[in-house]
């Protein structure tokens, strides 16, 4: 299983069922995962494509979409931030 966390506006369009899923077949990297999500959830895919999306793997910033994804990982999708 992998855990997916959608923050900010991504949380509005991501179904709750995505919070914990089996690692989809053929998904080996963050890039694969993002493509899989865009196919499964076009609304979410469009929301992520329309803005700068940062990916966090197990609470660490991922700098590269070739970063591997493995069973047990937590992956968070962050839209642009707006604190303060």
């Amino acid at each position: 299983m992998i855990r997916l966390v959608f923050l900010g506006k991504f949380g509005d369009v991501a179904p709750a069922g995505l919070a914990e899923i089996s690692l989809p077949g053929g998904v080996r990297t963050l890039g694969d995962l993002q493509s899989w999500l865009a196919r499964q959830q076009p609304l979410l895919g469009r929301a992520m494509a329309a803005t700068r999306t940062r990916l966090i793997v197990n609470q660490c910033v991922a700098h590269d979409l070739s970063c591997p994804v493995a069973d047990g990982d937590e992956i968070a999708f962050l839209p642009p931030m707006s604190g303060g």
Partner: protein
């Protein structure tokens, strides 16, 4: 260094008093409080909601605060940030810096606020009579952050 997120109303004066209690090593205290406005460019605001990523958000704000503390030689920094639902008039953020002299404390608070606007993992959603909208950093927020980085301001 203290960084705290809270989903409760907080009293900036009481937080600042607790932060400075017993301190005789600093000649300057500078603090900034950001509050929720009842109206913004987007219209009337009835409620603000701030999302965060538990664990990661605290870690990132602490990292930003540590970087600024090192750069400005501040003995101590305090950040208190609300998350969850916030009503107009309530404090959203408190940033305070204790330093030997005032110049560095002013600079540290200003840069930390610039960082929080663009780099802290927090997401604001305003709700009003016309519906809800997610807020993203404005171009001027990014420009201010870049200028501050370069030491122009």
């Amino acid at each position: 260094m203290q960084v705290r997120l809270t989903d409760r109303i907080f009293d900036p004066q009481a937080e600042t008093a607790a932060f400075t209690a017993g301190r005789d090593d600093a000649g300057a205290l500078v603090s900034f409080v950001g509050t929720c406005r009842a109206a913004t460019d987007g219209g009337a605001v009835e409620e603000l909601r701030i999302d965060h990523y538990p664990g990661f958000t605290e870690k990132e704000i602490t990292r930003l605060a540590q970087e600024i503390s090192r750069r400005f030689d501040c003995p101590d920094l305090l950040v208190v940030h609300r998350v969850g639902r916030i009503r107009p008039g309530e404090a959203i953020v408190l940033v305070a810096a204790l330093s030997v002299h005032r110049a560095k404390a002013f600079e540290a608070v200003k840069l930390l606020m610039d960082y929080l606007k663009t780099d802290a993992p927090l997401w604001k959603k305003e709700s009003g009579p016309d519906g809800a909208r997610w807020i993203e950093p404005r171009d001027e927020d990014h420009a201010r952050r870049i200028a501050a980085e370069k030491g122009w301001v």
